[in-house]
Symmetry: C2
Subunit: 323 residues, 2 copies
């Protein structure tokens, strides 16, 4: 049943706007024209805009913007990241689901959801997950000590930024873990870990990208500081293809994380950084630090030269730029 | 029902070997002598050695060596650690249970099991949990960044060692996380964490102490390198009282972890250390480092001066002493 549905979509998309007759489809699938018609009616309900003329056949004018996990598996060029793709129409949060399945899932498993009901940002904040975005979580199981985890986060920031840059978007990383375009947030990364001190059990890399999100759909307080890929390049992207590129880039960076000197990774991060060199104001639970961001440490801490020209390393906090 | 059982035990223990008549017990509890006799028979089945003489009454000669969670709650002098004590006769692993309940449990919750079927040591090794030991896991929820977790482990090592020393045992810490007496293991600590990079969700401190364990019960390969409290001091200890002291010491150290300069904690750790100053051989997944252990870093890494007098920091590995 489901295969017929997919095959009909494939035939209609393949003909690129030219009509395909119900007879042809029926013959290829070994089903009756009436049955083809039944499928078409169901597809229309799903949001597929299919014209039909009794003389020429069916024409696919538009299809819903959905991630296609089968297509993704077909075009994926990785050997580890994406070995197992779990696609859901709707989840509470991809990170929550990834955590639930992590222990019994192979490394490289990716959880993707079309929509999230309770998307989470860093430190318990809400993440507005509007339809059209890319909401995914990646399960990694590096056998490294706990203190390597922040490196994985840095490396993930590099991977997302590179993928966006390859798509023609001038993305930069804002410390600790956001990706910005023209100063507006296009992506957030939430890294969660389960570990012993000496050995990581698993890392969940939650990546949220405002891909085909319309800015009007954002809540007002978020809208001003946000942007999306479609907003930046002026057209809707193929999210399935974008995810394939992203997972490929993540795999490249993950391999490098395991083999490369960490100073090289830091150099690349600084190169892509939006924060280094800027005057910043960082709020931690205990204090407020103002000064110039001059670098990051191996632990992912930002290094700030404060007013007294003293070097401060801050591992976690809310960073704002001073103007 | 259960209260009567406890009250009978209390009355018998209170009389310290002197007989207590069934009539007296019955009157105090408002139950018949026949009912008292029924309770006594059940207690005998549980391992309570209760003599009875028709003329004088019941005498408690011996009671099973079990941890008493009610007694523990009564004598506990802490305000955070042990707020909630979950006592089980048998668990797969106290760390596993603690992880399962961590999110919905208050900070300070302690999971205690009389026996563990699948006790775990560091890095997936087996931990032989013989009856008579102390197997417990503590749930902590410090709101600190991830890189603070190894400090909590160091602090836990200090707490266990201090508690053993207060009990008259010359305990010392072997890097990274064992406690030794005369070179033999008496305690192991397994720290597990669930966290974001910027904020710890919860830490599980699994502490296994060979308290009243008989050395003959150890598997041969473990026996030679192990000892127990009862073996060291020549008598069985009251495990309930020992746990109360341990939780008190853990609370003191946990408060200090939050307020004290970390260099002070390192100094105390080094003071109690069995490893610093020794010639060591440390095996990591990538290499073997031989040299003299000279210190530890803020991340809990051991500092070794190798043959070329070069400083090596090792965060995780298997440490053996060279002789």
């Amino acid at each position: 049943m489901n295969d017929n549905r997919k095959e009909i979509i494939r035939l209609l998309r393949q003909s690129e706007g030219n009509p395909v007759s119900g007879q042809d489809i029926g013959e290829k699938l070994g089903i009756s024209r009436a049955m083809v018609w039944k499928y078409v009616r169901n597809l229309r309900k799903e949001g597929y805009d299919i014209r039909s003329s009794p003389k020429t056949g069916y024409i696919l004018d538009a299809y819903p913007d959905r991630i296609d996990p089968d297509e993704l598996k077909a075009i994926l060029k990785t050997s580890l990241i994406g070995t197992d793709v779990r696609y859901y129409s709707d989840l509470e949060s991809t990170n929550n689901t990834a955590r639930e399945i992590a222990t019994r899932s192979p490394e490289g498993t990716v959880v993707i959801a079309e929509t999230q009901r309770k998307g989470r940002g860093r430190m318990g904040t809400e993440w507005q997950s509007i339809p059209g975005g890319i909401w995914l979580s990646l399960i990694l199981k590096p056998s490294v000590p706990l203190d390597n985890v922040s490196k994985i986060t840095l490396v993930a920031g590099i991977a997302v930024t590179n993928t966006l840059r390859n798509a023609g978007i001038d993305a930069r990383i804002k410390w600790p873990n956001d990706v910005l375009v023209r100063g507006r947030k296009i992506c957030g990364i939430l890294t969660e870990v389960s570990a012993e001190v000496e050995k990581v059990d698993y890392v969940i890399l939650g990546i949220g990208i405002n891909a085909n999100v319309k800015l009007v759909d954002f809540r007002e307080d978020i809208r001003l500081n946000s942007t999306s890929i479609s907003n930046e390049i002026g057209k809707v992207i193929n999210r399935t293809a974008f995810i394939a590129s992203l997972l490929y880039e993540l795999e490249q960076q993950y391999i490098m994380f395991k083999t490369r000197k960490f100073t090289d990774i830091i150099d690349e991060w600084i190169n892509l950084s939006d924060t280094i060199g800027k005057e910043v104001k960082i709020k931690t639970p205990n204090k407020l630090i103002e000064g110039k961001a001059v670098g990051i440490t191996e632990n992912g801490a930002i290094v700030v030269l404060d007013r007294n020209n003293e070097r401060q390393e801050i591992i976690a906090g809310n960073c704002r730029y001073r103007n």
